[in-house]
């Protein structure tokens, strides 16, 4: 505050125009952002709430429907199927990704002192690539790898004398294929966050653990995990949000098929809105999904941040 007065005094001396005063700059700088967000976000969401209260036929509003869409949303089996498989995929994929990424981060940390720093940064760059690759292209890559006759995965399976699997043609196979692709895309992301977190940990607790003669496993469980838990929660919540949004790579790889077996939430909503042109129903379902997302995030808060994730 004192500095503001000083600044104003300095400006006053030079007779600088009122337009350059802090009060004007303060709001002039922030108002465009608020306006853009209000226009591009609050207006669309308001529009969506309104649409969810109207009935649509082939993309044309046909009248006020009250809560009809909301009631229908709760009875829409396709929608709840989509919610179900999205949760199923998240529950299978995310924990495995977290564990592998953590193991990998600790592995790289433990051998990092043997690697020259240029090699180290090269390794990090390589591990990073799947996250940078356009997800549509990831979908294509994995579709190629999972092709029934010409793909590499079944080639590998036959070399190992395993039965060949119709990956993209059977419901279970398709979900498994999506999850394997998910590992490829997202383990690097989680790894990078956890690895940076590991490198930023303080030394003192490790020295104390060493003095107390704790084993590597004890050190990991009682020192590393508790210290790292804020970073783990960050990675976990980001991963969860992104898992619930999954769209691009699945659209490219399976297109939601076979049948509706990989119709994740985003694909199903887009289908309701743009193929069935039932905007009202899609918007109502959208808000149910939003509430679900906030619920999950709140749950994380409750479980991990209020209580402690691991015992120190």
């Amino acid at each position: 505050m004192a500095s503001n007065r000083l600044a104003n005094a300095a400006q006053g001396r030079r007779g600088v125009h009122f337009l350059l005063s802090d009060q004007v700059i303060k709001y002039a700088f922030i108002i465009p952002a608020i306006l853009v967000l209000l226009v591009l976000m609050v207006y669309p969401l308001g529009y969506a709430i309104n649409a969810s209260l109207h009935t649509y036929f082939l993309g044309k509003q046909t009248g006020f429907g009250g809560l009809v869409n909301w009631v229908n949303a709760f009875q829409d089996t396709f929608f709840w199927h989509a919610v179900g498989i999205t949760l199923l995929y998240s529950v299978i994929a995310i924990p495995i990704e977290m564990v592998i990424a953590l193991a990998l981060a600790i592995a790289l940390q433990s051998i990092s002192f043997r690697l020259p720093s240029t090699l180290m940064s090269l390794v990090r760059s390589v591990i990073l690539i799947p996250f940078i690759v356009m997800q549509v292209v990831s979908g294509i890559i994995w579709k190629l790898l999972f092709l029934p006759q010409f793909g590499f995965v079944n080639y590998l399976f036959s070399a190992l004398h395993l039965p060949s699997v119709d990956w993209l043609g059977s419901p279970t196979g398709a979900i498994a294929a999506v999850i394997v692709m998910d590992f490829w895309i997202w383990i690097p992301f989680v790894f990078l966050i956890l690895f940076s977190g590991l490198q930023a940990l303080p030394e003192e607790p490790y020295e104390a653990a060493r003095v107390d003669g704790s084993s590597s496993w004890q050190t990991f469980y009682h020192v590393t995990l508790p210290l790292l838990s804020p970073v783990i929660v960050t990675a976990l919540s980001l991963r969860t949000i992104d898992a619930l949004r999954i769209f691009d790579q699945v659209y490219a790889m399976t297109g939601g098929g076979p049948g509706t077996s990989t119709m994740f939430i985003s694909l199903q909503l887009a289908n309701t809105a743009f193929s069935e042109l039932n905007f009202g129903l899609a918007d109502a379902e959208l808000f149910i999904v939003l509430m679900l997302m906030y619920l999950i995030i709140a749950l994380y808060y409750f479980l991990f941040l209020r209580g402690r994730m691991f015992h120190a």
């Binding site: 030079r14 700088f29 990998l104 356009m134 060493r210």
Partner: protein, 308 residues
């Protein structure tokens, strides 16, 4: 709410510490390693190497598929090296996809510039001035909501609105849509970078008779330049890679972006894998090069929007 963001910002700067001198790392890791059994280290090596193979092999597969002829791709068993290297896929991709590449470039650069200008200004204001809780709270709520919600949430109303404004299937309409996703990200990340430039620098300039604009353009922006670059590149990455908005807000070559055209190629010509793979290679190279330039700031960019 504001205070929470601040703590998060300081936490995230702790996250990016790996750029510290390597000596400190060695000092920390060495004693721990000496105690652990030797096989542990072998397991680590094997794990890391396996993971590198797992990461690189699919990319290798994309590359060789783009260099094979379509006949060779549909061979069983598949060939691990192309028998004949052919650039036909690239040539045919170039003929079809030039326009889409252009559209993607225009939309990516345009929306990033808009988001960067508006976003850095807002971020500066947020880090240097005190706002009534209503204003800053509203802004953070908007920013968080964009990060937390599924993009389909915006696509349905945006489609209806753009259609009414006559902006459906135009580059401008698409830029607007991507500004929506880019802006919150830019604000979040730039607040964290700007809060590292000490406000005492601003005050020194102000006392010497400089204006706020001088401070912003001559002092704060240059000091935060690496952050600015990282932020812009990440905003470009998300826009360039995104399928969803392009898919539902465009209908033909006037505005269709590269990922949309690539996806369209799958459904129309299911067997033209060589062209498809060539398109994939071309689509991912620019971003791989750009992101490698900002490796150090990347983690902070990745965790932007994490609720802490």
């Amino acid at each position: 709410m504001r205070d929470e963001q601040q703590t998060w910002a300081s936490k995230s700067s702790a996250l990016t510490l790996p750029s510290r001198p390597p000596a400190a790392d060695t000092a920390k890791t060495l004693p721990r390693i000496r105690r652990s059994p030797r096989w542990g280290e072998y397991v680590s090596w094997i794990g890391v190497i396996l993971f590198l193979v797992w990461t690189l092999f699919p990319l290798y597969w994309l590359l060789i598929t783009s260099l094979k002829s379509n006949d060779e791709i549909l061979r069983s068993p598949p060939t691990l090296f192309p028998l004949h290297i052919s650039g036909a896929g690239y040539v045919s991709f170039g003929e079809t996809f030039g326009q889409f590449l252009f559209n993607s470039g225009v939309v990516t650069i345009g929306s990033t510039i808009v988001a960067m200008i508006i976003g850095t200004m807002a971020a500066y204001s947020l880090t240097r001035f005190r706002f009534p809780l209503l204003v800053s709270g509203l802004l953070w709520f908007l920013v968080l909501t964009v990060r937390m919600t599924i993009p389909v949430a915006f696509i349905i109303p945006l489609y209806q609105i753009l259609a009414q404004l006559g902006l459906y299937n135009t580059l401008i309409g698409l830029m607007l849509a991507y500004t929506l996703t880019g802006l919150p990200f830019v604000i979040w990340l730039m607040v964290s970078f700007f809060s590292e430039v000490p406000p005492s620098l601003d005050e020194a300039v102000l006392v010497d008779g400089g204006s706020r604009l001088t401070v912003f353009f001559r002092i704060v922006l240059p000091l935060a330049a690496p952050g600015l670059a990282a932020c812009a590149i990440m905003a470009m990455l998300f826009t360039w890679n995104d399928l969803l908005f392009g898919l539902f807000l465009t209908s033909n070559a006037d505005a269709m972006t590269l990922p949309v055209s690539i996806v369209g190629f799958i459904t129309q010509y299911a067997t033209l894998w060589s062209q498809l793979a060539s398109g994939g290679v071309i689509a991912i190279i620019p971003m791989i090069i750009l992101v490698m330039l900002i490796q150090k700031q990347l983690v902070r960019g990745l965790t932007a929007g994490a609720v802490k």
